[in-house]
Symmetry: C2
Subunit: 118 residues, 2 copies
Amino acid sequence: MVAVIDDERLSETFAALASTTRRAILGRLADGAATVNDLAAPFELTLPAVSKHIKVLERAGLVVRGQQAQYRPCALDAAPLEAVSTWAEQYRPVWEARFDRMDEYLRQLQTPTKGRSA
Amino acid sequence: MVAVIDDERLSETFAALASTTRRAILGRLADGAATVNDLAAPFELTLPAVSKHIKVLERAGLVVRGQQAQYRPCALDAAPLEAVSTWAEQYRPVWEARFDRMDEYLRQLQTPTKGRSA
């Protein structure tokens, strides 16, 4: 299997996504841009904690920040998530084969075995 | 956006995928089961290094190991990758909107501005 995806960038994206809080922040930003202050309240995080998470997301290219000096609103850039989806989708034939085998197994369980009662 | 995916499990999957080597091991296992010895050679890794990566993948449910005491072949379980794809696909409308905006911008660049030459 060959994927034309920048490998190092993808590692950084996966590392950034390996946090429930950071994924929740992305979910919030999908509804629109927000400041660090906006993000702190719903997630019960301190401002420095939010800033730290935002920096990780920014480095991974998942968040871009505005230039307004005081607020610098954070916005979602979903492009790296498309790379994640494309990477994972390579394995669709593998997980589908798994479900096909399970279906086949369930069908066998449900089909009365011919000759058993004979 | 709501996703019915086990959050902790997903964090573990993303952490396991944040390594070029571990993703390459999964790529190799997509072609069929392999022993730790089989995996060491192509990746120029020591056996302990491969074992360590395999343990991370096993904990994330991406690799299952056979019971044969000596070889314990490793096999890919792609089910967590379906969860990754499902999670990322939530954001498809966001990245598609981004491309739509870019298309629109390019179209504007290519359309000769009426009245400019007047």
